[in-house]
């Protein structure tokens, strides 16, 4: 069974490499962190793409679902061959300039220790919660069971008879788990457990390698250590819920967005579209994120002077978004009942709530109470980051040639504001809603916050390792 599960992750990784390798040009010389960064990105993209393929296969031919691993393995083999050929081909115009700053072995060692302790903690939590947290078995793994146990009747997973399962929630995680079970040919708790742990580890890895690749390895080790030790992140690493996967896709999208100025253009923009689309296919908050990314991309487009490039970029992002978004919108929103918090039917009521100042105060009060529980941790992190920021800002102000990270802050700010307004218009009791969800919502943005913060503090921006400009 175990080797079949490993095979399911390997095929996902190869498919992800196929997407990433096709869209991002291959450098002549791999910059430190570049290969690892692309590999982790490829794994996340591969998991999302393979879940999408599984879901489409389920819809088109439910009776053929047991054969799905053969189809995917065949595709992965062909893809693997293409990727190996692409990787072996060197583009002509790469100009590598690796980071030449002081080596901080202490930070690396510190990160390794934190990662080790965090992995042990996550593992213990995973053993303690073999079926995940309550939302995992009430929503995500339940839906996976519907897919796996009754593929011919997969629509049951979205039945309005069970409104508490949130039938409108996108099924990336559930489809991933059902896909893993199809590979294993049995319903084992190892699959959702591995997905949960893997997305936590991949998020930390993506953060570390992205900052390393951006020329700030110190920031990478620090951000990675801080993320890996975040109590809520550690707890949720065993939760088997969609919040960490969403956090991964948000981080991947913001990383790609901040890399748009490096000459990749169409390829990076299309990949940004893919990761954003996968975020939308993971949770409803991802749909919100996709809308925000589209708006910010439009703003970026306004700022571009080279007309041809901007047209391609916007078009490519929309194309990348189109496939998973279409699946999400058509496959689900037409089947499922409207969302319980945000829906057209509640528009008038929501407007009344928006103009009620007492609700704003209630949200602040509730958020304050929850944040108050973590004040020691939050206070310490804020203090240390502020000191690090003040100490690093002189260097940053002097020599950072790119401010693309500012767009990252804009996206994060818009997401946080949107979450705030969702609380304002919630049909539930505000304090309870905030109390049960704010830590999960924070986890969506926390990896991206760390990335953008440390990216803004990088000592210098290196000349990117660029292949043939997309």
């Amino acid at each position: 069974m175990m080797h079949q599960i490993i095979m399911s992750f390997l095929t996902a990784g190869v498919l992800g490499w196929l997407v990433v390798g096709t869209l991002l040009p291959v450098p002549t010389r791999w910059h430190p962190g570049e290969f690892a960064n692309r590999s982790i990105l490829a794994l996340g993209v591969g998991i999302g793409v393979s879940a999408l393929m599984y879901f489409i296969w389920l819809v088109l031919g439910p009776h053929r679902v047991p054969n799905y691993p053969w189809l995917e393995t065949g595709l992965a083999l062909a893809g693997g061959y293409l990727v190996s050929r692409t990787v072996a081909r060197s583009p002509p115009n790469a100009t590598p300039a690796p980071y030449a700053g002081p080596k901080r072995n202490v930070l690396k060692l510190g990160f390794a220790l934190v990662a080790l302790v965090a992995a042990a903690t996550a593992f213990i939590r995973a053993i303690d919660y073999p079926h995940g947290f309550s939302d995992a078995w009430a929503i995500w793994n339940l839906r996976a069971r519907f897919f796996f146990r009754a593929p011919n009747d997969w629509r049951r997973a979205f039945t309005p008879l069970l409104p508490w399962t949130h039938p409108d929630y996108p099924p990336l995680l559930a489809a991933s788990v059902a896909r893993g079970w199809t590979y294993a040919a049995e319903e084992t708790i190892v699959v959702p457990m591995l997905y949960s742990l893997l997305f936590a580890a991949a998020t930390v890895g993506l953060l570390v390698t992205a900052l390393r690749r951006a020329g700030h390895p110190d920031g990478g080790w620090l951000a990675g250590a801080l993320l890996a030790s975040t109590p809520a992140f550690l707890t949720h690493s065993a939760a088997q819920m969609a919040d960490l996967p969403l956090g991964f896709y948000l981080l991947a999208s913001i990383i790609l967005m901040t890399r748009l100025g490096e000459g990749y253009e169409r390829g990076a923009a299309a990949l940004l579209g893919v990761t954003t689309g996968l975020a939308a296919w993971t949770k409803n908050e991802g749909v919100l994120f996709a809308l925000i990314i589209c708006a910010v991309m439009w703003l970026i487009r306004l700022g571009r002077t080279d007309g041809r490039s901007r047209q391609f970029r916007t078009a490519a992002a929309v194309t990348g978004l189109a496939v998973p978004m279409l699946a999400a919108v058509l496959g689900l929103k037409m089947l499922a009942p409207p969302n319980d918090v945000v829906s057209i039917a509640r528009l008038h009521h929501a407007f009344n709530q928006l103009v009620d100042p007492t609700r704003y105060a209630a949200v602040f009060r509730a958020a304050g109470t929850v944040i108050g529980h973590a004040r020691v941790w939050l206070g310490s992190v804020a203090l240390i980051l502020t000191i690090a920021g003040i100490a690093g800002c002189r260097r940053h102000a002097a020599n950072s040639p790119s401010n693309s990270w500012a767009w990252g802050w804009l996206v994060i700010g818009l997401m946080a504001s949107s979450y705030f307004f969702v609380y304002v218009i919630t049909p539930y009791e505000i304090a309870g809603h905030v109390d049960t969800s704010i830590s999960r919502l924070s986890l969506h943005l926390w990896p991206s916050i760390l990335y953008v913060y440390f990216l803004g503090m990088r000592p210098r921006v290196i000349t990117p390792v660029v292949g043939k400009a997309g």
């Binding site: 930070l107 339940l142 519907f146 009747d153 707890t235 700022g303 690093g392 210098r460 990117p464």
Partner: protein
């Protein structure tokens, strides 16, 4: 500003590696800033390690989690085999299914649905003809028999009873 922000780095930054190295040297921060940076970096790593170790200790100290899913699977596996997978059936329990009531009953219901999927369990009237009774009291058979309009079909033990509406 927008234009400046998004001008490709490849257009703006055309330094050769040797230039970059000399610029790096020029831009080395003064000693106090470097010291503050080093202290902040070390503080951050130490703090992270401390918090991670605390989380590990808390995870190890926590008594082994009572796994409700395993218990529910054990209790409901027999009735699952007796149900058609494509059915919609009713669900009755002796606990309140209101979230406000503390959540025990609702958790029990969610776990039953998790265990019995793809059979769909509904709790709202009118209940379908077949109903699963899932009771805390393992010897609830006699009491359940007195539920109006429901006839016990089969008692699976451990408080799990298959019921049917009286004709």
């Amino acid at each position: 500003m927008i234009t400046e922000m998004m001008t490709p780095t490849s257009q703006r930054q055309t330094r050769q590696p040797s230039d970059a190295t000399s610029e790096q040297r020029r831009l080395v921060a003064p000693a106090p800033a470097r010291f503050a940076q080093t202290v902040a970096n070390l503080a951050l790593v130490s703090f992270s390690l401390l918090v991670a170790v605390q989380s590990l200790r808390a995870a190890m100290r926590q008594p082994h989690f009572f796994n409700p899913t395993a218990v529910t699977v054990q209790r409901l596996s027999a009735v699952r085999a007796a149900l058609p997978p494509d059915a919609v059936i009713g669900y009755r329990t002796d606990e309140s299914l209101e979230v406000a009531a503390g959540g025990e009953g609702i958790s029990r219901y969610y776990l039953a649905q998790y265990t019995l999927a793809p059979t769909v369990l509904v709790t709202r009237a009118p209940l379908p003809d077949v109903v699963v009774g899932d009771f805390i009291d393992p010897s609830a058979g006699g009491r359940v028999a007195k539920l109006p309009g429901l006839i016990p079909v089969r008692d699976f033990g451990l408080g799990v009873i298959l019921l049917r509406h009286a004709p």
